[in-house]
């Protein structure tokens, strides 16, 4: 059943069968009287047979607004839009029904005429009784193409045409041999049975097709909804977790500060400070992601020193890396590489943070650069647990979390931002597991300037 939406504030209908936005009074062949006044919590319902509105008190239906496509410019009004069920189908349907029906009967007359013509051609070679088969074929065609009633009409017209044109005496409805009455009856009954069987099969297969389509549609909606919910859950979780710690620590200091030991107070302060830092990074990542997706990130590509790039990333992560050893290996005489210093620093910072998060504090992180004729290769390698092979292709996807010990608490954004930035440079990024344990992330950047850089 189709559902149409009527927005009382604007008088706009929305849904299948309407143009994008159809104003009240513009729908052809549909009574589009404005609904009567009603209050919040009531829904105006259109009664098609009597073409009148009634107002019914209803529970708010959740999910209605979600079904409205987001590209509807009035989606801020979506909450006050109501489904007007059957509004179109009933009223517009009445007109259509007569047209379609008339077409069907005209079709059956044409089929009978065609069958009659064929019979006329082969009349010298066939006895009249066998011509019945030609008419039966017309009935089957009518049943497949036109539906039940036109098929029965075809059977009926066939009997008349057969009698009139071919049963002696010809060109009258008189019947010389009474046996033909049995032929007529048998033909008509068989015709009706064939018609109803064929149309039933046709309707079943159409219904099955429709159901399959609807199931597919529902499945896609479900998948999208699940994804959206997962994203929202992930974002709100990542935003709230640090806030919980910050608020907890600060309220403890504010309310219980006097009773806490100096060490405890210090620990609470450090927790709040670290978590604020984490929250700041997450918000930064979220902004980067939004800008990448909106295409709003404009690269400022300049010939840059790779060692300087690494230095910037190391200095930005210094406080978090603490005592961890980070080794840097660079080929001597490395040329300047065209890149956006700020964004590529962000890429390395995210990779370092990631390695720092997953690898044990004792293990070292290795940064290495090498350059060929076309590409600069930058790798960040850790001695963490690595990533299961089956998950490797997905770790650069947005909000992808691999199953890791709870302490990690990643945002699932860092690596996808890396990919977005590197790809905006015309480069590539991939990850593989290291021999001996750990993960290597490899970045390839073009050595020559790309066509569309600033």
């Amino acid at each position: 059943m189709k559902v149409y939406y009527f927005c009382p504030q604007t008088g706009v209908y929305q849904g299948e069968g309407f143009e994008d936005e159809t104003q009240l009074g513009q729908v052809d062949g549909v009574t589009t009287v404005a609904p009567p006044p009603y209050r919040q919590g009531e829904v105006p319902l259109f009664n098609a047979p009597t073409e009148s509105w009634t107002v019914r008190r209803v529970q708010p239906r959740s999910g209605i607004s979600r079904e409205i496509k987001p590209d509807w410019s009035l989606d801020n009004l979506a909450a006050s839009c109501y489904p007007v069920e059957n509004l179109l189908r009933k009223t517009r349907g009445n007109q259509m029904k007569y047209l379609v029906a008339a077409g069907g009967y005209i079709g059956s007359l044409l089929l009978v005429a065609a069958a009659t013509l064929i019979c006329e051609f082969i009349r010298p070679h066939l006895i009249p009784t066998n011509m019945v088969m030609i008419y039966q074929l017309a009935v089957v065609i009518a049943a497949v193409k036109l539906g039940l009633r036109p098929a029965i009409a075809t059977a009926f017209f066939s009997v008349l045409a057969f009698d009139f044109f071919f049963v002696p005496p010809r060109l009258t409805f008189n019947v010389a041999e009474k046996e033909y009455l049995v032929t007529f009856t048998g033909f008509f009954v068989v015709g009706v049975i064939i018609s109803s069987l064929v149309t039933k099969v046709r309707e079943q297969s159409l219904e099955r097709e429709r159901l399959a389509k609807e199931a597919e549609k529902a499945r896609i909606l479900q998948v999208q909804e699940n994804l959206e919910r997962a994203l929202l859950n992930s974002i709100s979780h990542d935003l709230r977790t640090p806030l919980v710690s910050i608020k907890g620590a600060l309220s403890a200091l504010k309310d219980e500060g006097d009773r806490l030991s100096g060490a405890a107070r210090q620990e609470l302060l450090e927790t709040a400070s670290d978590e604020a830092e984490r929250l700041n990074r997450f918000v930064g990542n979220l902004l980067d992601m939004t800008r990448l997706e909106a295409g709003a990130m404009r690269l400022k590509i300049e010939p840059s020193d790779v060692q300087e790039l690494i230095g910037c990333a190391l200095s930005a992560t210094e406080s978090r890396l603490g005592e961890r050893e980070v080794s840097v290996k660079l080929p001597p005489g490395l040329t300047l590489i065209p890149l956006d210093m700020v964004l590529m620093t962000q890429v390395l910072v995210n990779l370092l943070d990631n390695a720092n998060k997953y690898a044990s504090a004792m293990s070292s992180i290795e940064i290495e650069a090498s350059v060929g004729s076309d590409w600069l290769t930058l790798t960040v390698a850790d001695r963490g647990p690595g990533v299961p092979e089956s998950e490797l292709p997905h770790i650069f996807d947005k909000f992808y979390h691999i199953q890791v010990p709870e302490k990690a608490g990643g945002t699932g954004l860092g690596l996808s931002i890396c990919r977005g930035i590197v790809e905006a440079h015309g480069g590539g990024i991939m990850a593989k597991n290291r021999a001996g344990g750990g993960l290597v992330v490899e970045i390839l950047l073009p050595v020559a300037l790309q066509g569309e850089e600033v």
């Binding site: 800008r291 010939p303 020193d305 060692q307 300087e308 840097v328 300047l336 700020v342």
Partner: protein, 235 residues
Amino acid sequence: MKASPDANGQHRILVIDDEAAIRRFLHSALSSEEFSLHEAESGHNGLSAAASLRPDVILLDLGLPDLDGIEVIRRIREWSEVPIIVLSVREREDDKVAALDAGADDYLTKPFGVGELLARIRASLRRSIVQSSEPVFISADLRVDLNLRRVTLSGDEIQLTPTEYDLLRLLIVHADKVLTHKLILKQIWGGAHQEQPQVLRVTISNLRKKIERDPSRPRHITTEPGVGYRLRQSA
């Protein structure tokens, strides 16, 4: 203009920021025997407060509702050399460069820690008190005698090319201050090279190889990505 403490021995700090929460936080974090804090919540109020109060340092938020922060800097620079520290968010590198080129002395990326802010304020005050640099610059293992043009690292003499030395000297004169790429290019190579930042990158890289223990972790000349360079002076 000289930055001298007022009768109470306090330096006057003017905060121009429309966010009440940030003014409140700065007020409680900075007010002390050393500093007295004054607030303005808009660009116009900030300009008149700068004129009437004659602060020793101005902390300026770039995102003001009534007046572009860059415009505030320009108008103050028409009549005063008071140190201006810009408070800006991370994504706006171009704004930082524009603010520095308009005459701001330094910037801090929000959110920032109070320790960092205090260090920047003190560095700005020091610069405005000491008009001309000391003839000898010392920071950790680095020692530069500007009279003798002599550079040593842990006592060992370092040979610099004339361009490297000029660049180092420029950074020393503005120690602890961010110098934009544009400003450095103009000062060292003249107007013609302003569009060729490579030459600056290469010179910085070479200079770091000579004066940094680990050029991948520079301690003296640090990069402010997308903005410029800063020479750090540590005790």
